[in-house]
Amino acid sequence: MRTLDKRENELEKRGREAIVATGLAVSVAVCLAATIIFFTRTAISAGPGCFSCHGAEAAAKEQYRGIPPVDVSVLGNSTHKKINCTDCHTDALFTENEGKNHPKNLSEVDCAKCHYKGNTVGAPQLTPMDDLKDSIHGAGTRKKYGNDLPKCKDCHGTHEIYPKADARSRTDRLNIPATCIRCHADSGITERHKIKGEVAKAYLNSVHGRALKETGLNIAAVCVDCHGVHDIRAPGDPKSKVSRPNIPETCRKCHAGIYKQYIQGIHGQELLKGNKDTPVCTDCHGEHTIRSHRDPESRVYPTHVSKTCSHCHDDVILERKYSLPARRLSTYSDSYHGVALKYGDKRAANCASCHGTHDIRPSSDPESSINPENLPGTCGKCHPNAGKRFAQGKIHVEATKDSNPGKYYVRKFYTWFISIIIGCLVLYIISDLASRLRKATSRR
């Protein structure tokens, strides 16, 4: 082995220096990069960057007055907790504004940036939001409703959006009435857009609202069950879930058994034929004011049933249009059942006691409760031992010559008889008074 000569020593020395220099340069570069990355990352994430002005401590300081504070704990528990502020508030990006504070009024957050069908960030779209644009809350109606039009944040909230199963979520079933009522019972909005504010509030006293409020029965119908979620349409719109012909299908979602009975009965059959006059669920039960049939304020409480039915069955125009038997209400009211019910005796038969509730059928139908073959059973519900003879003869009794000659002639006879008797008596009284007068005058 020979020793390196002068030139070789120089090269080696330079080589070693180069390695050290490179190593140093790389370290410095790495440190610098890390520093830069660290600081720029701070500007994007929910770290000291945004909260230095929008945090709770900042709110106490004089210089940050007027800046809207953001509650960290709310954000931290919300469903968006892993997302950066600037992912939604895109125009607040630090780097975009050349290191200065972001402009005073940020533009509106566009939720559709992530919440669209087929998005890759895992943003849920539980109900089709494409329906929104055609719905009554859609962008198409913005001209009409202006700033009153609800946006995503009006129903879902802003920073306080919670996961669907969370009870704190504004769209949790138990909270939905409150969410909708915020606008639908707001006096300003209801006045401006002619919304019936008391209607929404009436829901809270209905059987559905009470079940929800008082016992937390979250399967009770709430606004979205009947009206839809993003596809809400005005009741007059034929595609609306609450347009009259669609109502039975809407109620069917929970009341399937009753729907089955209804659709087999005459009212339901007429609905299938497209008859616009036939009653649907809400015609008898009400809509936001629906109460249990055991509630004395219900439209189908025993003492109110005859009034509800007579809306159509005591209407001369409808009677003529559909050849319905006439004078149903007056003949019922004349009968003992009608009289007793008017005096509050709930045991007495009302319309539904004999005709049924949902599967009302004409008497010609062999399954009808008022078919002559079935009448003894129907009457027998209250009158045990009601035999065939019991149910013979007219039930709705009219005092006309052809339908009930006995009653007709008795009435006629008594009318005459009473009139004659009273007439005779009046004559007698007159004659008696006359004689007294004569006696009195003759005494003078």
Binding site: H383, G393, S431
Partner: protein, 241 residues
């Protein structure tokens, strides 16, 4: 009729009284009054179900049901009274005599017309009445008929299940109509005829006490039941002989 003498302290005259209605009559009549009154009060509401006034009374359904119970109790009382009365007129002497006297005769029509004409000043003489004036006979017959009809139809209505099992339904409808309109008839006849006759028609307005104490004074007898008065006088004189 028995005779009673009473001293009147005021006039020192002998006010002679006759016992027109013995106790049995008065008791029957009072029971009749009470039962009629109760039946009408508890029955008429059924004819006016739309009345707000009546519904204010029957404020709770139980009151309405109670009304029905009271009506049936009074009806039972009336039925017992009716049965008693029938037995009474058959088996008691007094009843026998009086029921014969109260039966209307053809002459009553004439008497009735004459009384009206007399009242109007057309004829000169007032007619003479026996124990029962035509108007009183009419009221008795009318009451008896009305009670019979009301009890008959009432029983049919009282047991609707049984009635409708045995009889055609139209019988039930007719029974209800007759019962209701019969009630109106009784009510108007009673109030107008009877109350007028005994309160305003009698000479001792406001009210003659004969239905309470059974006594009728001699002067009144002479005025209103002159024939009977004559018969009694003759009978007394016969006895004296």
């Amino acid at each position: 009729m028995t005779e009673m003498k009473e001293e009147s302290a005021a006039n020192k005259e002998n006010h002679k009284y006759y016992l027109r209605f013995p106790l049995s009559y008065r008791v029957q009549h009072i029971i009749l009054v009470l039962s009629f009154f109760t039946l009408i009060i508890t029955g008429l509401p059924l004819l006016f179900p739309g009345s707000k006034f009546l519904r204010a009374i029957f404020i709770v359904p139980d009151i309405f049901v109670l009304r029905g119970v009271i009506h049936r109790i009074a009806a039972a009382a009336l039925m017992l009274l009716g049965a008693f009365h029938v037995l009474f007129v058959i088996f008691s002497d007094q009843g026998n005599k009086d029921v014969r006297a109260i039966m209307p005769r053809w002459s009553d029509i004439g008497k009735g017309l004459r009384s009206i004409l007399f009242n109007l000043g057309v004829t000169g003489d007032p007619p003479e009445y026996g124990r029962f004036r035509p108007i009183e006979k009419f009221q008795y017959i009318a009451t008896a008929a009305a009670v019979a009809v009301m009890i008959g139809t009432g029983v049919i209505i009282w047991f609707p299940d049984l009635s409708m099992m045995l009889l055609p339904k139209w019988v039930m409808d007719v029974a209800i109509t007759v019962h209701g309109l019969g009630a109106v008839l009784v009510f108007s006849t009673l109030i107008l005829w009877h109350i007028y006759t005994v309160h305003f028609g009698s000479e001792d307005f406001p009210m003659s006490r004969v239905w309470l104490d059974g006594k009728i004074s001699e002067e009144k007898m002479k005025k209103t039941h002159s024939l009977e008065h004559k018969n009694i006088r003759e009978a007394e004189q016969q006895e004296k002989k």
